[in-house]
Symmetry: C2
Subunit: 167 residues, 2 copies
């Protein structure tokens, strides 16, 4: 549905990056930029809307005009899903990125057909898991920007990362 | 992708319900049950996974077996999207349900192919909007259950509801 355009953005700002990240590879202040951008189309907005958020302003341009959004706008849950894809593409956690909950999520600007989204993620906390000894919890703050560098969504999300196996 | 099975669940537990809800129609303690259930299929899990959360345990049964999830599991963002549909179906806000942010969201059990999800929503706060005089903010706690009555996701989400127009 959406084009991924590889661009000059690096996977991680800073030193050499491991291929797969373990808990020990994360540190507070670490930043990850999305690889390329996600282009959002009217088709994707309507398709997602019809499946998961069937409200006029996510389905139809004319209905959108007469709504709060003054035009067709992406469901916030589509934006969240696209941001998840950008996250998974920019951070490769060993064994996969297992969500450990959302602390906060805010939609700050409507996402429109033709918008290109990118993300900046910062690690804001690392701690060992209380319930699962073999995992740590990585807390991240994500800003999603459109092509005008407006923040369209911000979130604080936790994920699990496995503790590095000892030899 | 998913069948909606109308069942005996009522839109609102309690007194007579307006067709479209304005801010004044919401009160703390008010409860809404989803209309019917959302059946989750392997096809939908894989389709959503390939678009928005391309990780092996959301794409392929065999790869899922060797993962944290011990089988194919829905992306948490698919679960969140399905829950949004159940919310929109069970609460009709005048002018549409405009998200005003997520306070918390937790995935407490994997969602599997064949699961049927339903939601219970409780209003936990109502206040006038500071920034938009014509709206109020409704704070809701949502529990999403599978067919075994296990909670698969819980969230606290705010949405806007318009203040009733004065005659």
């Amino acid at each position: 549905m959406e084009a991924i355009e590889p661009d000059a953005a690096s996977k991680e700002t800073g030193e050499t990056m491991p291929k797969e990240f373990y808990f020990e590879d994360f540190y507070v202040g670490q930043k990850f930029h999305s690889i390329g951008q996600a282009k959002v189309t009217a088709e994707e907005i309507k398709e997602f809307g019809s499946k998961y958020d069937p409200q006029p302003f996510h389905l139809d341009e004319a209905a959108g005009e007469n709504s709060f959004f003054k035009g067709l706008a992406a469901s916030g849950w589509l934006t969240a899903a696209i941001v998840m894809r950008l996250r998974v593409q920019s951070i490769t956690v060993a064994g996969g990125m297992i969500g450990a909950g959302v602390e906060e999520m805010r939609w700050t600007q409507p996402v429109r057909p033709g918008d290109s989204l990118r993300t900046e993620i910062e690690v804001v906390g690392v701690r060992h898991s209380n319930s699962r000894k073999e995992f740590g919890v990585v807390r991240t703050r994500t800003l999603a920007f459109n092509q005008k560098d407006e923040v369209v969504m911000r979130s604080t999300v936790n994920f699990l990362a496995p503790v590095k196996p000892t030899a």
